[in-house]
Symmetry: D2
Subunit: 414 residues, 4 copies
């Protein structure tokens, strides 16, 4: 028996409602969850499959029921085939083995029109914000009722869009409601509609993207009111993961970072969207801020994102770290990271779904700070060092397991 | 005022006796200590210049008095000029500014014949072990008396040599004494002579090299008897530093490391010695063992050390990390590390000297486990993760500062 | 119509007899030839598909009939499935599409006992050399007669083995015959048996491996006698390809190469064999000699080959080039090359088969110097620069096309 | 005796008039020319020091007399000290040895006001174009007369500026004269003033920068009229050099380049200027066009230039080449190039000066196509392959040496 099989006793099934359910990450995580449940793949990549998390009563992967919305009108099988053909990640045998499951899941994915408006230039002719929010709520309710689900976690996986302009109305629940009623598409972005609909339906919410909303005070107020937890932003899958795992080494050794220049090449849909400068503002901000949080000063830190279509989902990052050592001698470290974006992101979403559901069942409300290690821009957490973020998550798990955290403080985790 | 200027009140001067005092590391650390003390260089690279260590009453760099032995008959100025010309690290202006200091220090460096015997094939005609040990003690005493030094820390910086064959006599102080008396050069290596002489003279001892001795039970017995602290082995300056700073990231994310292949190119004297396979056995062992300690399993982990003379002291390491993620997809990270060996090592030796003296003044005896972060093969410590080793060292400092360690546990260090 | 479809008018079919016919390279080239002929893949990687070679009357890929021997007793389908599973290169659809062809080819592959003796320590109990050579000839004859083949090219793809000791008997055809008769397995290696059998059967021969034989004067004598062309050694697929394409740039610019250090990581069967130091002597020699031929002096040039099983057929090479520019300033270039060995090698074998058959039909005898660009160690050619080797091959093609070579000398090839 | 000492018999001294004479490249080339002439440095980096060029009667480095203009008001010694301090390239001993020479040269460098106007937005209050051109001519004349120089080569080393808008007036000498008379600073850029002044003074002209002018038909007309040779644009020193040395390998092997993504980090004044998007248009164009010229198709090819101040003159380029091989399998090559810009560029300028003077003495007029290998954007030459460009230059030298070019065609150069 491993931790993946540990089911919640009274009501095993957990609904997972994905915004962008036919995208590469969503497709990969659903194929993967089924493949692992069927014993066709190891649990590599899942933090929650390791100690001490495997000791918590997390929902088994086999007990996740997927649904959601997408602007692609499907079917999901086409998305799965596309991932297989473009990325050579999923292998054909695994794909065939989960084909029936994929078909079933597709019944729970609803096509929605592309409402990815740029708040700076909203598309005319869209339904009103209130209609949009109500429509999303109706779809969530339908999913829940169709399967008699007691619990549903909503995860935002949509593409990166510009943030709306600042407005004091964000600071209160009532203010946001007023903006929705006034149909202010310049001040409310699509991601906020999803977030608002999820919370109004009492569903915990994870923002895996750089899109707006989780740090608005009015959102926290609503979450408090409906008693659900939420968290974000922007899953930490590649270059930023390495950065936050490595930067402290320079601080500990007093090696002054002169420049940390990062270049990200990617060719997937995410890359295509980020090729538009307005869309990448939030992501660049998330990537750039981590260093000063760890080093205690601001080195020259550039982040470049280039769209290279032939790479598809295989992101390649190159970082140059120019630093100064003893006698002020400049030295240099470089790294390249070649990973498949969906393969890196998908298990994090599964981890987050399981840990979020656990938090909700444990009665947590508001920002789940213990999840900081999963995000580039962890809400309400100043700690940017990946090792310390992980230590915090491990301590959280041990507290729930009733263990004496101190006793484990200096023991190796594995 | 910064931490470097904080002197021990009653007797400011600390003797630093270096084995290999005209080598590149020793030369660089002495030039650097003087240059920093004279305000010609920042304190980059010195861990002890950062919080919380700058709050401890460590001996100021200006108060270190250097001496030692070398098989090179000098003068030290020639070594300094050589480092300047070969590595372009020290700049000419700094070199000229410390020239007078270098000349003074040289009076305290004694030429010793090359007794770097291979225990597998001892050179005939060498003096007996007892004579060697007594000779070293006499030189240490002379250094101490010449300057009226109350405290002297001994640091071993000699080249890497094969370890002697195992012998049960190592396990006791009396056993080692007997081996020395029996002149068993097959069972006692040169490094043990230095270690033994240092301890018999009551001097704390640091083994910055992969050479033998610190883990012999008989050595611990003698240290206990003479009430001095000691530690080693093998300074963690480059590739292994990165390895131990990065490996845990893979464990936390359950990314299974399939292979971690490291290649080290270096062209200095260290590289020339390591080009001889018997000499590099201990170093390779130290470099290879760290991963399993962090990951909890043994990935394929090769370490290659190649001698590339043109690189001089500028070590270049390339590591390929082949790992498996979600759905068992193989992915890849590479890094290159281009650093000057002496520039990386020198500040660590200064840190170790200051922290060792502090430990001795604090009454510590035996292995100084708090110093694990400085070594590839930390004596009596299982923890290989650099971040956890640093956390332990910070906690140690805070205990001595009377701070509540827990309060700082999740605050960023800088 | 493209060049691949141009068939030889009078007798379209060309036999291709592979030594190591169930290995990764052979399997890949047969799957690939069938896939390209069926329009399932582009002709990427085939030099002979480009101008001016596509203008020559080369045998079409569809007209190649494959056969050969292997120590693996099959079936070939298992090899193809293995390549698919381990390397993720061939895709499942392509594999399925050529499955019937693979089954047919397998009838022409004969299992032979593993006679890979080390000439330094021949395995007792093997048949005599004469019996071995005669057995190979009988198999070649059977393949030829079964299909009524007018022309068969033999290609050696076996693993790398140590070269036999030098013997003056190599220098004549009669001397080699005498060594075979005397069953001198210490002086005749397995590769020489294949070479000898091929020539005695009047078949042109390509040595794609570092194995011995092609540079023996007695071999040239036999080739002259039977009027067939032959060539080798050691296909230039990766790191050496880059080296010979790049080194001249340093020479032209008078940038003095101080060190060129190459590291090759590979995990396939080739890597496993090369992990044995005696087996890699010839390959290392081939890789190391190319630089001095191009630069005109001998820089420090190390070549390391490490076996990293998890990489499978995906070779990763890292090279560091340390060079000196104006004012003797040292600078640095690094490259990494990540390629699949079989995918790189397979098209070269198809190119060589087509060009060798063309040479034989054109009446060429002895070493085919025009093929130097395909080999690490090109027989009887001093030119090591890849660009000049390619220029020679293009000039050769143009002469056969009746074009004025000079007119094209400075025109871009594409 | 080597080629550097070969002086022109009748009038040894050659004037070299540099636009940007106190910049890093100019400073380095003058220090270097003096250091080599004094035997303090090898001739590394100088193409003209190698065969066959060392056989041509080129002006000796010792016989070059430097002068020029700069917007920095000096002295040159400060520039030299700056290069030494920032780049650690020139060593202190060399600097001191040439200090007196540097002081003498400085007398021939004239301070000019910063007239680096953007043709899109000319600075008001500047002197008229005619006054500028006449002023430059007067300074050139003064330099020539002061030293009785029979020959002066002008080299443009100024920073990169936007090109002026297109105008049909460029197409004739009279048209350009009319634009100058009409003071059309929107259509005539500063670089054209330098070029025009040089030609009017009968001086051969080299444009080592991406600045405008050399490809204007009116410029060729004037050069023809005054019977002088000229050439450009944009010295090929780093990433583009590698690109054009490597790209053909992919073409020869029919490895289809899917994407070639290049990233250039630099921190010198050039980098600072290029950080302004309008200034880097011409340079990016030069860097991007080379691939299609070699490959025969247009792969996705991005070029990024980022300003990273701490790197100073040490440029670091990283290129990712994503290509497709047999069976359409994608593979990958990466390289990093770490070179000092001035150290790479300076010897090229000396080579160009010597070869341009030789061409002028040989009676050449107009574009010197034989110099294509030195430029990113070689005027009037379609060949982009570095190897073929070098072969053309070697053939040119051999023709002048009276050698049979064909005889050497396939012999290795060294």
């Amino acid at each position: 028996m491993n931790g993946l099989a540990t089911a919640h006793p009274d009501d095993a099934t957990l609904g997972v409602w994905l915004v962008g359910a036919r995208g590469d990450i969503a497709t990969t995580l659903m194929v993967g969850a089924r493949a692992i449940a069927a014993g066709l793949s190891s649990d590599s990549g899942l933090t929650t499959a390791r100690p001490p998390f495997d000791g918590l009563p997390l929902t088994a992967l086999a007990d996740l029921r997927f649904g959601g919305v997408d602007i692609d009108d499907g079917p999901l099988w086409r998305s799965a085939l596309g991932v297989y053909q473009r990325s050579r990640t999923i292998d054909r045998e695994t794909l065939d083995a989960v084909a029936a499951d994929i078909e079933v899941i597709d019944n729970d994915i609803v096509h929605v029109p592309d409402m990815a408006w740029d708040p700076g230039a909203p598309i005319p002719g869209l339904p009103s914000l209130r209609l949009l929010v109500d429509g999303l709520r109706a779809r969530l309710q339908a999913f829940r009722h169709r399967h008699g689900l007691a619990r549903v976690v909503v995860v935002n996986l949509m593409s990166s869009l510009p943030h709306p302009a600042l407005s004091p109305s964000r600071d209160t629940r009532a203010g946001i409601e007023a903006l929705i009623d006034a149909d202010r598409k310049d001040l409310i972005s699509p991601s906020v509609c999803y977030l608002w609909a999820a919370l109004l339906e009492g569903c915990p919410y994870i923002n895996f993207t750089p899109n707006a909303g989780t740090d608005w005070a009015g959102v926290a107020e609503l979450a408090e009111h409906v008693r659900v937890p939420f968290y974000g932003d922007d899953g930490k899958t590649g270059e930023t993961l390495i950065k936050t795992a490595l930067a402290h080494m320079f601080a500990y050794r007093n090696l002054r970072v002169l420049s940390w220049e990062g270049v990200n090449l990617l060719g997937n849909n995410d890359g295509r969207m980020l090729n538009e400068p307005r869309n990448r503002t939030a992501k660049l901000h998330n990537k750039e801020q981590v260093l000063s949080g760890i080093l205690g000063y601001e080195p020259h830190a550039g982040v470049t994102i280039n769209y290279v279509p032939s790479l598809g989902d295989w992101k390649t990052a190159w970082d140059l770290i120019h630093f100064q050592g003893f006698l002020d001698v400049p030295m240099c470290m470089q790294f390249t990271w070649q990973g498949c974006d969906s393969i890196l992101a998908a298990p994090l979403v599964l981890d987050l779904v399981r840990l979020t559901d656990f938090a909700a069942r444990s009665g947590e409300v508001g920002p789940m700070r213990q999840l900081a290690a999963f995000f580039k821009n962890p809400l309400a957490v100043a700690e940017m060092d990946f090792h310390r973020q992980c230590a915090d998550l491990i301590a959280y798990a041990r507290r729930h397991l009733g263990e004496d955290t101190q006793a484990h403080a200096d023991a190796p985790t594995p």
